[in-house]
Amino acid sequence: MPTIVSVDDSTVPGEGSSRLLLLVSSDNKHIVVEEDIMSRSRFISKQVEGFEATSQRHAILLPFSSFVLNKVIEYCSHYRGYYLLEDDPDAAPPGRSPVREWDQEFLDVDRNMLLRIIKAAHYLEIKSLVGSCARAIADMIRGKTTEEMREILGVENDFTPEEEHSPSSKCTG
């Protein structure tokens, strides 16, 4: 959970239907964004609900860099006002997320950035972005060797020698 800092109301002028939010990234950059844009994030929505309840608006501290945050905001701005089935909490859980051309171009970034975006999207609970990132990462690791997969996913081989060669019990059917 991020620390919630109380801010002066004047920094977040809440006029009209779309109010402004102050997001603070881990590298201490302050980013002001319209609440409407970020409503795709379940995490932000819950925060905003909290503000309504307590009538106090705060800056929201986020545990990732402004570089990543800006990317996520770019995504949310693009889909502002769009209905995406995966992001609808009332909809039936969808299967694999659909391929969206814009997302593919948007996620044409390096491996590290992609992992950061999916982590941020997961933190912010933006299901559609998690789905698109997962698809892009899966495309990267498809057909790769186990060693190459480790490198892409950024994991280390922590198996004991016995475990490594024992086929996992459930999968031998």
């Binding site: 299967g95 590290n112 999916i118 998690v130 899966a138 996913l153 994991v155 996992s168 059917g173």
Partner: protein
């Protein structure tokens, strides 16, 4: 180091296919735990290992856990051949001929009385526990003389050509009809409301040959030549034509995949200086709209067969069906790419006087991967047997014709051989499963101490085939062998010689008894699970 949350890992894994998931779970403990904790990934692995893919998920489709349960029961039933269900179909008696199509849980019987441009077909759906399909049957009538009818792997598409009456010298072009089984109407995605009109006369139609994915393969008589035509039935575009040699018989041909057509060997056999036949299987690559490769419009490959295949070679290749539930809410498709090419030949074996039969089983993947790695650049390539054969195929001596080859049926990568016996009340059925993934699983089970499977890597039915000049044939194509006693109801008419036919589907075996006339169908029994 960046640590992804479990949910995100799961999302990534959901996007991979079954082999990808298996490879990925070897990366680290956490990924393996995520895989083992997820029912949907478990289902994906199980489905992949059975050689199946999921179909269209509708609102009636059971949830993943239930599908997984049924799939496990189904896989276990094929291994133990526990005949869990026997359905008797007495109502099928009558003027039925051998089925035109056996695909998934659907069997299509034509009627013997085809006259005056009217053909009647009976569709029999055999019950399937896997798919949750009940037994049902229906009839449909076609206002045309349609002897050849083809059902595609969705089980809801059939195609036939409206041909002129037999012996009628009519040069009118053939019209193809593509219809939906469930509604009887023109198929919704077929071109021009389900009718494909080849107006470039003079073409005299003879017989449709095969249907695969978006394509129809047909043989047409044009300018006194047999012409082989591949048409896209969705767009109505003729993708490929080839004028065949002017022979009196039409060459059997099938789709290998949606980019290649395979022809039977003997029709193309060349002869050497001493007049002996040099048998080939010939494969043509056609330019397919479904493939985006820059392959030239037409390449051909001639796959040489071992010398022993010289005499009277018969070939049949079977295509594993993509199986959907006929009710529409489909699930459990079998993978249409998992196929086995089966070549059978009869000849005098090894100098002895008796006629015998041998077979060559080749995973079609072997063909296709060879073709993909050796582009012919628009020309023609001859592949000697030594080069392509030994790596992925083997010839097997099946013994005298009358014994082991009775009631031989193939579906996908499974082959079933019925062993007839003189003793009434005893009979066995042998199932050979060449599916690489299923074999890999059986091997894994064996490593864990489970000895319920018989896995053969070298030997098979009868003796090993080691004819001269074919030493290289002794290669390994592993398969799982299951042999069990037949249920009592089934063996009676096998042993008594009143068998009309036996058909194999993904979900079981169907036996039929001969009816009143020699060519007529009698009672039918289906053993399914």
């Amino acid at each position: 180091m960046l640590v992804l949350p479990d949910d995100a890992l799961l999302e990534i894994l959901e996007n991979l296919d079954y082999t990808g998931v298996l490879a990925c779970q070897e990366t680290c403990r956490r990924v393996r735990r995520v895989v083992l904790d997820s029912v949907s990934l478990e289902y994906k692995i199980e489905l992949g290992a059975c050689g199946m893919v999921d179909g269209t998920v509708g609102k009636d489709t059971p949830n993943v856990a239930e599908r997984l349960r049924r799939l496990r029961l189904h896989a276990a039933a094929w291994r133990s051949l526990a005949w869990t269900e026997c359905t008797h179909f007495p109502h099928l008696r009558g003027d039925r001929l051998h089925p035109s199509a056996v695909i998934g849980s659907t069997i299509l019987f034509p009627s013997m009385n085809m006259r005056r441009y009217t053909s009647t077909f009976l569709i029999q759906h055999i019950p399937s526990m896997l798919r949750g399909v009940e037994e049902k049957h229906s009839e449909f009538k076609i206002e045309a003389d349609a002897r050849e009818i083809h059902v595609d792997c969705s089980q809801d598409f059939y195609a036939f050509a409206e041909s002129p009456r037999l012996f009628q010298v009519d040069r009118s072009p053939p019209r193809y009809h593509m219809r939906s089984i469930s509604s009887g109407d023109p198929h919704p995605v077929a071109c021009s409301l389900g009718i494909l009109d080849l107006s470039t006369a003079p073409w005299q139609h003879r017989a449709a040959r095969d249907v695969f994915a978006d394509y129809l393969l047909d043989v047409i008589f044009k300018n006194d030549l047999w012409t082989y035509v591949v048409m896209n039935w969705k767009t109505g575009i003729v993708e490929w034509t080839m004028a065949g040699p002017p022979r009196s018989v039409v060459m059997p041909c099938h789709f290998l995949d949606d980019n290649h057509v395979i022809f039977d060997a003997p029709a193309y056999s060349d002869r050497d200086a001493e007049g002996r036949r040099l048998p080939y299987i010939r494969v043509y690559q056609f330019k397919s709209a479904l493939h985006t490769t820059n392959a030239p419009a037409t390449s051909s490959y001639s796959f040489a067969l071992p010398e022993l295949a010289q005499d009277d070679l018969r070939m049949s290749s079977r295509i594993a069906s993509t199986v959907t539930s006929p009710t529409g809410a489909g699930y459990f498709h079998s993978d249409p790419r998992d196929r086995l090419l089966f070549i059978q030949s009869e000849r005098k074996y090894d100098g002895s006087a008796s006629m015998g039969t041998f077979s060559i089983d080749i995973p079609l993947e072997t063909f296709i991967s060879y073709i993909k790695s050796h582009p012919a650049n628009g020309g023609s390539v001859v592949v000697p047997w030594d080069e392509w054969g030994p790596s992925g195929s083997r010839a097997v001596w099946l013994g005298p014709r009358s014994a082991a080859t009775d009631g031989l049926v193939i579906n996908g990568m499974r082959r079933v051989t019925l062993k007839s016996t003189a003793v009434l009340g005893q009979g066995t059925v042998m199932v050979l499963d060449y599916h690489p993934r299923r074999v890999a699983r059986a091997l894994a089970r064996q490593r864990n101490g489970d000895t319920s499977d018989t896995i053969l890597l070298g030997g098979e039915i009868g003796e090993e085939f080691t004819a001269e000049g074919c030493g290289a044939v002794r290669t390994t194509l592993p398969c799982i062998v299951t042999e069990v006693l037949l249920p009592k109801e089934a063996i009676y008419f096998i042993a008594a010689g009143v068998m009309f036919g036996v058909w194999l589907s993904e979900d079981g075996i169907v036996f039929a008894q001969r009816g009143a006339g020699a060519r007529q169908l009698g009672d039918m029994w289906a053993y399914t699970f």
